[in-house]
């Protein structure tokens, strides 16, 4: 975790410098009290200082961070994340219910369920159930696309 601290700290440091520079372009005080640049600059500076402290921080226990190890598992997990991103991007076009059923299906497969009865039943019931509760019971509109 010490290495991770350094990487994250460094990344945050860059972020804080970037934020400070952009904030510097905001108008300064227009008479009464500080302007729009005040708070962002303070926050960016504080973040900068703290990230430097983080870079220098040594973690006492350097245990395993991830539960997945080994190429196949990591690949599955990354696929899971990509599937999630695709889901969120497509939920508008494809429609909520269908997309949700698909993502449930995909995730369950990635997590190891192979029985197609379980897969289909769970995906359909979960997405249909949630759609029903929101759209009809609570009158909260859900995104509808080409499919439902």
């Amino acid at each position: 975790m010490t290495m991770a601290n350094r990487v994250i700290g460094f990344g945050l440091l860059i972020l804080s410098v970037y934020a400070w520079l952009i904030a510097n372009a905001f108008p300064s005080s227009n008479g009464l009290g500080p302007g729009p640049d005040y708070f962002p600059k303070i926050a960016a500076s504080a973040l900068g200082v703290l990230s430097i402290l983080l870079i220098g921080r040594k973690e006492k226990q350097d245990g395993a961070v991830y539960a997945v190890s080994g190429k196949p598992a990591v690949l599955l997990f990354v696929t899971g994340i990509i599937v999630m991103m695709v889901y969120v991007l497509f939920v508008q076009w494809l429609g909520f219910t269908v997309s949700s059923a698909l993502v449930t299906l995909a995730w369950m497969i990635l997590m190891g369920i192979r029985k197609w009865t379980t897969l289909i039943v769970a995906s359909v019931l979960i997405s249909a159930g949630i759609s029903y509760v929101f759209e009809f019971l609570l009158s909260v509109p859900i995104p509808h696309g080409i499919l439902y």
Binding site: A19, A23, P34, F39, Y66, A73, F96, P143
Partner: protein
């Protein structure tokens, strides 16, 4: 007193009681679903009340309000994903208890604490509302700034293991909170010409992403990595015992008061109350106990839940006595009353006394119903732990997505949730607490706008903070809260070095 009895009589009509029951149950469901908040729930049912008689309608909304503030704790405890922002603090000790196999007790504590907090606030509303209303009027920009600063200083308490990482999360949150139109001059900051960013990142999708989506990712990762071979512990069904509750009385009552007072302050709601009270809970612990806070100490759950329900009655105090809503839901209740032609304010007690006492009676009953349903539902709620994790993960993801969308029918909120989810996942992996970001997103904008507003009011003079006792008080406590732990820590280190 007879007015109250009369009010009770009005409430115990079949129609009213049915609506109260329905409202509380629906409220608990709405609160439990991550993504739907109390404010949204009440706004959803507002149109339903237009056709009803005024009191019945408002009581329905009150049922939904109370139920949802409590309901958030269910998801927070069982799934580590707060159902509403008010339960973000509950998740800390609540979910820890679930992992220890004590979910039933945690849920029980939450339900009872919510009821106690709610009843305390209703009691204060009935007995000393007009006197307390004065508190609401004394709060203006400098005091709100002090409160916000105080709230931000709590970050160190909810940082869990590493205060440094907590502070980083908090400051990062403050930086993010400045995205959008500047509150005083509307100057667009960090918006890169994107319309959706004009209002900054909507804080609820961020919260849903940081807590719920990241949890879904953690579960998915865990299942791919081999899955938990731990069997479901039957102890999860056990309810709290009487002597356990006795030890918690003081925390519950204190937290109820804190919640009521914060509810009275216009603009400060259940989320702030829960965190402040959680923090105060830690302060009142003996040294040995302090270590267990955040790892499954019932006092943590109880402090947060009693306070967030305490806000419900507190927010009604300025609403009914002055016509000023104490929080976002009270603002909707104000709308509901106005639409019915009832103007809350100084004359309300004089012109519609019976209505007001019926409301009081209804609020008492609603709190009691909430506890009843909460406790009797524990066996049912715990069953969700039986859902195979492989199905739970996508379920949480889907609920979060629709929840984020439902806020403003805006797909951008869902994108926000997605990004927050991925960031939240990595934060969990590398030991960064998520609560400070939530605190920063709520309090950062408040701190900035109130600070600048104070300076406009004082025409640029910083002495305004020194001249106003309440504001000064909060600021001093905030600064001390931040500095003292650091100083203490340094002193302890020196002692250790000297002793070695």
């Amino acid at each position: 007193m007879d007015l109250l009895l009369q009010g009770l009589g009005n409430v115990f009509q079949p129609e009213v009681i049915l609506l109260l029951i329905g409202g509380v149950i629906i409220g608990i469901i709405i609160g439990a679903l991550p993504g739907l908040t109390a404010t949204m729930g009440v706004a959803l049912f507002l149109p339903v009340t237009f056709g009803m008689d005024a009191v019945t309608g408002v009581l329905l909304l009150i049922g939904v309000y109370f139920g949802s503030i409590y309901g958030g704790s269910i998801a927070a405890i069982l799934l580590n994903t707060p159902g509403t922002p008010a339960s973000a603090a509950t998740a800390l000790d609540g979910h820890a208890m679930t992992k220890q196999g004590k979910a039933g007790k945690a849920l029980g504590y939450a339900a009872i604490a919510s009821g106690v907090g709610g009843l305390i606030s209703v009691l204060m509303l009935i007995l000393i509302a007009p006197q307390l209303a004065g508190v609401a009027l004394n709060f203006s920009a400098p005091e709100m700034f002090g409160l916000a600063l105080f709230g931000l200083s709590i970050i160190s308490s909810v940082s869990g293991g590493s205060v440094l990482k907590g502070l980083i999360a908090g400051v990062f949150g403050i930086l993010i909170s400045t995205i959008g139109m500047d509150p005083m001059t509307s100057y667009p900051r960090f918006t890169y010409d994107q319309l959706s960013l004009l209002n900054g990142f909507s804080f609820i999708p961020v919260m849903i992403g940081l807590f719920a989506v990241s949890e879904a990712l953690v579960i998915m990762e865990g299942e791919i990595g081999g899955g938990d071979k731990i069997k479901k512990i039957i102890a999860n069904y056990v309810l709290p015992k009487w002597n356990e509750l006795k030890r918690l009385w003081f925390s519950m009552i204190r937290s109820g008061f804190i919640g009521t007072i914060i509810g009275i302050i216009p603009g400060a709601g259940a989320d702030i109350a829960a965190f402040v009270s959680y923090n105060e809970g830690k302060r009142f612990l003996k040294k040995e106990e302090k270590e267990t806070y955040g790892k499954g100490n019932p006092k943590g759950i109880v402090s947060a839940e009693a306070a967030n329900n305490g806000v419900t009655g507190g927010a009604m105090i300025p609403l009914l006595t002055l016509g000023i809503p104490g929080d976002a839901v009270a603002a909707i209740l104000l709308g509901a009353l106005v639409v019915q032609g009832i103007q809350p304010g100084p004359q309300l007690f004089a012109t519609s006394g019976e209505l007001v006492y019926t409301l009081f009676a209804g609020m008492i009953i609603a709190n009691i119903l909430m506890v009843i349903f909460g406790i009797s539902g524990i066996r049912l709620f715990v069953k969700i732990l039986l859902v195979p994790k492989k199905m739970l993960a996508p379920l949480i993801l889907i609920l979060s997505t629709i929840g984020a969308y439902a806020i403003s029918n805006n797909i951008f909120d869902v994108f926000t949730m997605l990004v927050a989810g991925i960031i939240g996942y990595f934060m969990k992996k590398y030991g960064f607490p998520a609560s400070p970001i939530v605190l920063a997103l709520i309090l950062g904008p408040m701190a900035e706008s109130e600070f600048r507003r104070s300076l406009v009011m004082s025409e640029g003079s910083y002495s305004i903070f020194l001249e106003r006792p309440i504001a000064l008080g909060f600021i001093i406590i905030a600064v001390l809260s931040l500095i003292l732990p650091l100083v203490w820590g340094k002193l302890k280190k020196n002692k250790k070095v000297n002793a070695a």
